[in-house]
């Protein structure tokens, strides 16, 4: 089985998903987040301890409640491996076998198709400007852009918005809930995880309704969607060079989502 087929299966086979969840839970069960004292009873005092340096009542960068930390860290490592051994090799292979105009077309196509959910979310956020601009983009690119393969809307000056259901919930006043690292999809939180599910559902529904693709098309769609999405995310697990990367990413993700919602 080639890695490409493996990804397709991974998306379709519920047994796979069950195995994933079970193994994740097993992994979490064996790991606590407390440090281990290897010699003696108590930890020795380091040259600089937090008792010595940190004022207890001052807000610290990167602090937030993280009840799912053990699960999240396990999932973070799982994603690192999937990324390294499956997704990135797929992306590299994709760049080897396809010409640039093809990749650009695919990316334009998915960006354009996503505007269906962007539109739906703009409406739910009561944003007239975003709704009509997104509808405009979709109309232009789906017609003179040949079903979205080209992007004439950008040179026409119609901006691309990025609204998802997580942001819509945020607009409605729903808090983020605990930080959550999703399998394959990466940093998120409970609210945004639900949002992803809703957007996915709407997107799939729209695809069936508009294009009614056969099984073969659905597989190709899925595979290209995964590769194109990964190719356009500039992030590498354990790539920041910081031993505190988990906390750093958690903080930056949370800040970024806060800004996305306000925008």
């Amino acid at each position: 089985m080639s890695p490409a087929e493996a990804t397709v299966r991974l998306g379709r086979d519920p047994a796979w998903a069950r195995l994933l969840i079970v193994s994740a839970m097993l992994a979490v069960g064996g790991c606590s987040t407390a440090p281990v004292v290897v010699e003696g009873e108590e930890p020795e005092t380091p040259v600089f301890s937090s008792e010595r340096l940190i004022k207890p009542d001052v807000e610290q960068f990167g602090d937030m409640s993280d009840p799912l930390e053990a699960f999240n860290k396990t999932m973070y490592r799982f994603n690192y491996r999937v990324d390294k051994y499956v997704l990135l090799p797929l992306v590299i292979g994709y760049y080897k076998v396809t010409p640039a105009f093809f990749r650009a077309g695919i990316h334009n196509f998915f960006t354009n198709f996503r505007n269906i959910t962007v539109f739906f979310n703009s409406v739910l956020q009561f944003s007239g400007r975003k709704s009509y601009q997104t509808a405009g983009r979709f109309a232009v690119n789906s017609t003179i852009g040949l079903a979205g393969l080209f992007d004439p809307a950008t040179p026409m000056g119609i901006p691309q918005h990025n609204e998802d259901f997580g942001q819509t919930l945020g607009r409605w006043g729903v808090g983020p809930g605990p930080y959550l690292v999703l399998p394959l999809l990466g940093p998120s939180n409970i609210r945004d995880g639900v949002g992803l599910g809703v957007d996915w559902y709407v997107n799939t529904w729209a695809r069936e309704a508009l294009l009614d693709p056969n099984e073969w098309w659905k597989r190709a769609w899925m595979l290209l969607y995964v590769i194109d999405t990964r190719a356009h995310v500039q992030f590498l697990y354990f790539g920041t060079g910081s031993p505190f990367e988990y906390r750093l990413v958690r903080q930056l993700y949370t800040t970024k989502r806060q800004l996305d919602i306000e925008k």
Partner: protein, 421 residues
């Protein structure tokens, strides 16, 4: 009157260009230059596609990597090779910098476009380097870092092996990587593995202790001091949100920093705090990683083992409160003092300086340096060391701060010229 003025400007321009041929860089404030860098219209045009490869290798086959750092078991590096015989340049990143970070990639692209192959190396202060390629696990020692770098360079050369024909070897680095460059070049003159044709130092520190003291002090510009870093971050996010959420004009693209600068017009204090914060993160990453490798007990209790899922909150907070000078006094010096009890603090400080190898640098005609008159990592007067020791081999630009002009087109042209002569 006007003619006279024109003549005067021409003459002045002529004088300046004698110092550094054709150079046009917009920021006279070194803090602005350091943060904002080079706006697109002043940048060198690099449009070549670089066939960049990322690879990793085990440097010490027997070494057991701590569980917490499982992802850094292998040393990571990158390279891009020309087709057919070509010169190859090794590029060493600055403090806390990675082999595929913006600095190395920029220089790599510039040299690749000029017909060179290149190998990108992380700084010996970068976590992955400390864990996988540092003999002692304690970075920042001029001579030991050079040994570590030399070892990985030889390994990489062997790995690339027969796949490439290298006509000549070159060496460069920026910031701390430029400092490393000098010591690696010296080592090579003893061992002759590469016989570098030329080496180029880009904005090196002169004396490490001066530079780290200056950088540590920049955090004094955080309102209310370091204790308030959390609040400071939140206030930056809030200020940014106000602008970002109200317009579509601020785009996250290659010119983002310049746009942000134009919109916010930040104060000098804020810029200094940002520079200080960026270096502080490097210091925190380096110190904690090193401490875990040696079990010295600097931040992490010596008798504590950190598992993959261990919560690092308290170590993160402490590490962010400690500067390079803390690292030097409470960790680096005690560590080297143990193996050499006669070594004094002052001696170690003076040893970590280009002055230590001044005689070598005077005589090594292959080593060139570029620097800026207003670089923030130099104490007043330290810039004079370079023209004095390197003579014609030093090019000093009037402005640019710390590396702010590294992407400026005349600077890039000059770098390539140095290696082409």
């Amino acid at each position: 009157m006007f003619r006279w003025f024109q003549a005067l400007t021409l003459v002045t321009a002529g004088l300046v260009s004698a110092a550094a041929a054709a150079y046009d860089y917009p920021f006279d404030d070194p803090f602005v230059a350091t943060v904002v860098g080079t706006p697109v219209e002043y940048r060198a045009e690099l449009d070549v596609k670089v066939p960049l490869k990322r690879r990793s290798m085990k440097v010490f086959p027997g070494r057991k990597t701590p569980e917490l750092f499982f992802y850094d078991d292998k040393f990571r590096y990158s390279y891009a090779l020309q087709k057919g015989p070509a010169p190859l340049v090794f590029i060493i990143a600055g403090t806390g910098g990675s082999h595929d970070g913006r600095g190395v990639k920029w220089l790599g692209q510039a040299f690749y476009q000029a017909g060179f192959s290149y190998v990108g190396l992380s700084s010996p202060t970068y976590s992955n380097f400390i864990v996988s390629a540092s003999q002692s696990g304690v970075p920042g020692h001029a001579f030991e870092d050079a040994e570590d770098l030399y070892r990985v360079m030889e390994h990489i050369r062997d790995k690339l092996g027969k796949r490439i024909q290298v006509t000549d070897y070159f060496l460069t680095g920026y910031s701390l990587g430029a400092f490393n460059t000098a010591f690696v070049a010296r080592l090579d003159d003893q061992r002759h593995s590469f016989d570098f044709k030329r080496a180029l130092m880009i904005n090196p520190p002169m004396r490490l202790y001066s530079s780290i003291s200056l950088l540590d002090r920049m955090l004094e510009n955080i309102p209310g001091g370091e204790d308030n870093f959390g609040q400071f971050y939140q206030s930056l996010v809030d200020a940014f949100a106000k602008v970002y959420t109200r317009s579509d004009s601020l785009q996250f693209n290659e010119d983002f920093l310049y746009q942000a600068y134009e919109v916010f017009k930040p104060t000098r204090e804020l810029l200094a705090a940002l520079i200080g914060t960026s270096f502080r993160m490097s210091a925190a990453n380096m110190a904690f990683t090193s401490d875990v490798m040696t079990d010295f007990g600097y931040i992490k209790p010596a008798n504590v083992l950190l598992r993959k899922n261990t919560d690092l909150t308290q170590y993160n907070q402490v590490a962010m409160r400690l500067g390079f000078t803390d690292y030097f006094h409470a960790y680096f010096y005690p560590y080297f003092h143990t193996s050499d009890p006669k070594l004094s603090r002052g001696e170690l400080i003076e040893e970590m300086s280009l002055r230590t190898i001044e005689d070598y640098l005077r005589s090594a005609t292959k080593i060139y340096v570029i620097h800026n008159e207003d670089d923030l990592i130099l104490e007043p007067g330290e810039i004079d060391f370079f023209p004095e020791v390197f003579g014609d081999r030093a090019t000093i630009y009037p402005n640019g701060g710390h590396l702010g002009n590294m992407e400026q087109r005349d600077v890039v042209a000059h770098m390539i010229e140095v290696f082409r002569q």
